[in-house]
């Protein structure tokens, strides 16, 4: 076999924390041949992004390569001169970052940023590069390829920006592209478009790629081979099919099993049952723009209603209406059959207590300067008037309930917790009020799959124990399948379809629901091909959403 394009041997990386260097990647080997796509997967902290950057001979501040070698086409990148690396990066090795919005310079037009590398590296003249950019934009199925490059980054949508970024990486026809979670921040329908675009272009130009992600279903579509990482160690590596069909290691199997969690649907509520929360006919607007149109749904005791939709569909706005942060302009919200004042400032303490919220970003939902004991103690004291020692005991009980050892965590600050642990504290804070109804706003979307699953299980258990009702806002249909009893599908501020979960997951669907469902990647490497065959490239993603009107 030919010499690999990228050869990494015993790569060891160290990161500095608290003035000390600790090893974060422990000797990883990696081979990548021309035209091959390697998927790197693992949880956060597995070192996948760090390895991706090290493959370019680059480390972030506070990280260093302590041992091992990185050879790109025979060039030793670890010891190469800066000037040598400068000639390679951008020209023969390119990088596509997770957030295109943060990686483009907002002050320059896309085309100016696109042509910079080819002109700098003397690959093309500015004119040629511009023409080439338009061609690439067309290949990546961007709308108006002739014109879109002359826009500023804020004038194009997230998915388009991600494709423009891929086009930019392609501008010098590199031999190797490193994709660092390029679709993680996108909606499913947009993601599928970007995935198709990336795969097509990588195949066309025979580029080798490292595809970093934590989403197994995505990597199954993209990669020829998959390497699983865990805390800086390689767990195993195999071709995609082999890895999906017969994973060797326990850790890999546990990753694969995550998506199997599904709680059985509960029997439908009796006809005369009074819903805990009843939203009927609400309209809401930000300033003059109306964002919710006549939204109605009921949430019954001990049941979960999943509200699904893409970003901008109004699902979070609906939650803000229920909490009273954004008083609706029209319509009624009832708690246990009684009208709830629309503005939260007019609600009684008791009414406020009944409706609690768990946030998407646990980082911003917990005051970073307060200890866990203070964060959880405050609602206990505020609503239930329990002080001093008794309050501390209550906090300990709550921590037990969210499966965190109380003695260890009660005096810590949020920054000393991992993402999943922070989310558990967020749940505990909601429980501290002893509510009847909790709004869960994308609570698992910022978490790794294993952690997300454990949070879902915790929520399910708490629901059974405490007869809680959940409004579960999510864009992830796997989560819906796992936890929901009923589903509400929203689009452009309107409810498109609603009903019990079993009904929603069996056809016939509303066309939008159908599009959403079909866009969720599956763990089958042929899924994307099949879908493209079925629907055609014109009928996926944003284009399809637009067609629906």
């Amino acid at each position: 076999m030919a010499e690999p394009l990228l050869k990494i041997r015993n790569l060891t990386l160290e990161g500095r924390s608290d003035e000390e260097w600790t090893q974060i990647v422990n000797g990883v080997d990696l081979d990548l041949h021309k035209g091959e796509v390697l998927g790197l997967i693992g949880e956060s902290g597995a070192g996948k992004s760090t390895i991706g950057l090290a493959a370019m001979g680059f480390t972030r501040d506070g990280v260093r390569i302590s041992d091992g070698s990185v050879e790109f086409d025979g060039i030793d990148l670890v010891n190469a001169r800066m000037s040598v690396k400068r000639r390679l990066l951008g020209k023969r090795i390119a990088y596509v970052a997770q957030s295109a919005a943060a990686s483009f310079n907002p002050a320059h037009k896309l085309i100016d940023q696109h042509t910079e590398a080819p002109v700098r590296h003397d690959v093309m003249s500015r004119k040629e590069s511009e023409a080439d950019a338009m061609e690439l934009y067309a290949k990546l199925r961007l709308p108006n390829p002739e014109e879109i490059g002359f826009r500023f980054p804020h004038q194009v949508s997230g998915g388009q920006l991600q494709r423009a970024m891929t086009a930019m990486a392609m501008s010098c026809r590199p031999d190797l592209i490193i994709f660092d979670e390029p679709t993680t921040a996108l909606d499913v329908t947009t993601q599928i478009e970007v995935l198709t675009a990336i795969r097509d272009i990588v195949e066309q130009f025979g580029t080798a790629a490292i595809y970093i992600t934590h989403d197994l279903a995505v990597v199954a579509q993209m990669a020829d081979r998959i390497k699983v990482l865990f805390r800086g160690d390689e767990v195993e590596e195999a071709s995609t099919r082999e890895m999906l069909d017969t994973p060797q290691e326990d850790y890999t199997r546990s990753l694969w099993a995550v998506r199997s969690f599904e709680r059985p649907a509960k029997p439908a509520p009796t006809a005369d049952a009074v819903p805990v929360i009843s939203v009927s006919g609400i309209d809401a607007s930000y300033g003059k723009t109306q964002v919710l149109h006549d939204v109605s749904f009921d949430i019954h005791e001990a049941r979960t209603v999943a509200v699904v939709g893409e970003s901008g569909s109004g699902k979070s706005t609906a939650a803000r209406c229920i909490t009273g942060l954004l008083p609706p302009t029209n319509g009624v919200i009832r708690l246990d059959g009684r009208d709830l004042p629309l503005d939260y400032r007019k609600r009684s303490k008791e009414q406020l207590r009944q409706v609690q919220m768990i946030y998407q970003m646990a980082d911003t939902a917990l005051n970073p300067r307060k200890t866990i004991g203070q964060i959880l103690g405050r609602p206990i004291e505020f609503y239930r008037d329990i002080k001093g020692r008794a309050r501390r005991r209550e906090v300990e009980k709550l921590l037990d309930e969210v499966e965190l050892p109380a003695s260890e965590y009660i005096d810590r600050l949020p920054s000393e917790l991992s993402g999943g642990q922070k989310q558990r504290i967020g749940i505990a804070r909601a429980l501290a009020a002893e509510p009847r109804f909790i709004i869960c706003d994308e609570v698992t979307s910022a978490l790794d799959q294993l952690v997300a699953e454990s949070i879902l299980k915790l929520l399910a258990r708490l629901q059974d124990e405490r007869k809680l009702s959940y409004m579960f806002i999510t864009h992830d249909l796997a989560t819906v399948r796992a936890i929901a009893d009923e589903v509400v599908v929203m689009k452009d501020g309107e409810v498109v379809e609603q009903g019990p979960k079993t009904e929603m997951f069996t056809p016939p669907h509303h066309p939008y629901t159908d599009l959403l469902l079909s866009s969720v990647p599956e763990m089958d490497p042929d899924w994307l091909n099949r879908l493209l065959d079925e629907r055609g490239r014109e009928n996926i993603g944003d284009a399809a959403v637009d067609k629906m009107g």
Binding site: L325, Y344, L352, V355, Q356, Y359, T364, L366, K370, Y383
Partner: protein, 390 residues
């Protein structure tokens, strides 16, 4: 013309030296990345530093460079004192301060030491000062140094002023008056500006608008001139009551400076109030007081502390400036600004009698030193708090 030639030759020499330095470094260290990938500008910077040190050495041996030698001596002494202070701090005291001292740069330990010395002088001024602040004790305009041969007197090591008051005593009392009043003023400014700023950030809407525009109006007037104007009015109100005028001054400067604090508190507060934990607290039904002091304030301490340090310096300089102009702290109270003004004409003797020129410079130096010390500490605190966030 030859001046230009010299400048050009020196520049060319430095450039050549920089190139040689990098080449030699690469050869000697056997291609280590530090020298190999060193940008030419960095090598040039090293050479400029070397040239500066050489120039300093040359200047040291010039007979006329008295002030330069004083400055260098003071600098070395300060560095040694700061080093010793840090050493003591690392081995004495509770664990928390020992840990802090271990990670502290020399500048910060110097700043803390200087602030401590100022604080002790201010608090124990009556005990430490050999004479009273308004006591006329000797001949007028005695030079510092305490050496009768150069026109000094051992009883007045820093000399006397234009009416024969002991300057050492007046400097020590000045710490009490100037620094004490500045500290009180800054505290009032922070209480006022901080609470209003947070309130504006949380309530928002028309309340925020009215307050912010009001502050804009106040900020549009040059602060020193505005203060002067108000002080002139206030001195008419105060009549012959000296302490009243001082009180007016404290409030006038506090109000003017609180506008800057308001701006900062509002800006910081606006970033904090959009956080989900504030929303969670609002939805819990918490009152404004709880939101400001328990949720927002703890997250705003780092920028506010930094601003406190800077603001303190500005207030302090404003008071010194007002006193220098004659409307600030009134005689016979000792004040550094007034002292600089009273002795200012001696600066003209700098060329032939450095000791005479030192008379006004001592008070000016006391102001400068405290300003620098406070800023050192603030820089360090900012660095630490930003490091903690990562």
């Amino acid at each position: 013309m030859s001046g230009w030639l010299w400048a050009f030759l020196i520049l060319a020499g430095l450039l050549a030296a920089a190139w040689a330095f990098r080449a030699a470094g690469t050869a000697v260290t056997k291609n280590r990345p530090y020298f190999r990938d060193m940008p030419f500008t960095v090598a040039f910077g090293y050479m400029v530093a070397v040239a500066a040190v050489a120039g300093g050495l040359w200047l040291w041996f010039q007979p006329g460079a008295v002030f330069f030698r004083w400055a260098v001596q003071f600098f070395v002494a300060a560095a040694i004192a700061a080093f010793l202070f840090r050493l003591v701090g690392r081995h004495v005291g509770p664990g928390v301060t020992r840990k802090a001292f271990r990670q502290m740069p020399l500048t910060a330990s110097f700043g803390i030491l200087a602030i401590l010395v100022y604080a002790i002088l201010a608090i124990f001024a009556p005990v430490l000062a050999p004479y009273g602040q308004s006591e006329v004790v000797g001949t007028v305009n005695m030079l510092p140094g305490g050496n009768p041969a150069t026109g000094g007197d051992p009883a007045h090591p820093l000399g006397t002023d234009q009416i024969g008051r002991d300057l050492l005593s007046r400097l020590i009392y000045g710490a009490q008056n100037t620094v004490g009043i500045a500290f009180a003023t800054t505290c009032i400014a922070f209480f006022l500006g901080g609470s209003l700023g947070f309130l504006a950030a949380i309530i928002g809407g028309w309340f925020d608008n009215i307050l912010a525009r009001l502050v804009d109006v106040l900020m549009a007037i040059p602060s020193l001139i505005f203060a002067l104007l108000l002080m002139t009015i206030a001195s008419a109100w105060a009549g012959s009551q000296q302490w009243q005028l001082t009180l007016y001054m404290v409030f006038i400067i506090a109000v003017i400076d609180s506008t800057r604090v308001f701006r900062l508190a509002r800006a910081v507060g606006q970033n904090i109030v959009v956080m989900d934990y504030i929303e969670a607290a609002k939805l819990r039904g918490e009152g404004l007081g709880y939101l400001i002091f328990k949720e927002v304030l703890p997250n705003a301490t780092a920028p506010l502390l930094a601003e406190f340090g800077l603001r303190f310096c500005f207030v302090f300089l404003t008071i010194a400036a007002l006193s220098f102009l004659g409307v600030g702290i009134q005689p016979p109270l000792a004040d550094w600004g007034t002292m600089v003004r009273d002795l200012a004409q001696f600066i003209n003797f700098a060329a032939f009698s450095p000791l005479a020129a030192a008379l006004p410079l001592m008070a000016a130096g006391a102001i400068a030193l405290l300003t620098v010390a406070v800023n050192f500490v603030v820089d360090w605190m900012l660095h630490r708090s930003s490091g903690l966030k990562d």
